[in-house]
Assembly symmetry: C3
Homo-oligomer: 134 residues x 3
Amino acid sequence: MRSDTITVRTGGEPTVHDLTGDCERFVADEEDGLLHVFVPHATAGVAILETGAGSDDDLLRLLDDLLPRDDRWRHRHGSPGHGRDHVLPALVAPSITVPVLGGRLQLGTWQSICLVDTNVDNAERTVRLSFLAG
Amino acid sequence: MRSDTITVRTGGEPTVHDLTGDCERFVADEEDGLLHVFVPHATAGVAILETGAGSDDDLLRLLDDLLPRDDRWRHRHGSPGHGRDHVLPALVAPSITVPVLGGRLQLGTWQSICLVDTNVDNAERTVRLSFLAG
Amino acid sequence: MRSDTITVRTGGEPTVHDLTGDCERFVADEEDGLLHVFVPHATAGVAILETGAGSDDDLLRLLDDLLPRDDRWRHRHGSPGHGRDHVLPALVAPSITVPVLGGRLQLGTWQSICLVDTNVDNAERTVRLSFLAG
């Protein structure tokens, strides 16, 4: 298994960051297998969705509704309401796999692989890409 | 890795479509490994749940509550409220893996592998099945 | 693929049960590859989150909000409101993969692999661990 990490700058605002280009480059010299995308953080997830037509903002606002940044959370470290970022990975898991054939991701036309990071306390994030040949 | 696509007719209504039979046939001649189920669409997901006892309808109604088909979404293509279908894959991911031993899915008694498609604008869907031997 | 099951006692209350120690021991003698964690039950999921700082309780309370234990569900077997446990796996999937390098899980500092079981009718649960070398 080939495995490597990349660093993504997400800044101080909730962010949906498109990783598709990084993923495409990572598998370009491979044959068939599975790409595994993993975020080694407890307050971020990975989602596959359309970007650039509003759905990334829609997702962040949905997460604000489902996981309000208020004082309901028992987890109390970090910025006010940060506890909500710690339940995010139960809904948007930090791990996803995508099939690869002939060095190409088998994504649909409108699918992008995205880091979902609602944490405003960490401006940089690590993402681990792994390729399991099959 | 053996990989193939099937076409599923989901029609014009939100649908939970059971893929378990297709998955069973796909791995029947394999030995041990992982079955990977992937939906190459930006408005559908894959879930493992019990079917036939009401939970498929319960899920669709829950998604109507969590992701209302109204004008709150920035994504505005397609039918009114279609933007909600574009955040669905962040909650119900389009990718899942199931262990296979001796050509048999290691599902629990009540588990079925299901395509979850709330999009009413696409009556046909593609599902990619891949088997990674291990 | 090496694959085995463990039995977890979750008792009669909704539970977030930390599986990280079991997972670490399972892969300790392996080299590189993917650990696959799978729950063969229709009313439980697997999540990666921080434990011990309140987020496990935060998750269970969030699930009580999103999936109320009342009579809205069509699925009517088991305890009152048990139908909500049957939609849980659509949001918290029963399957997750974690990269392994040199026999060590590549989890972040605050990440734990957890069984999420809101079902109060089953006191014991099975978890299948599989390792796919790569």
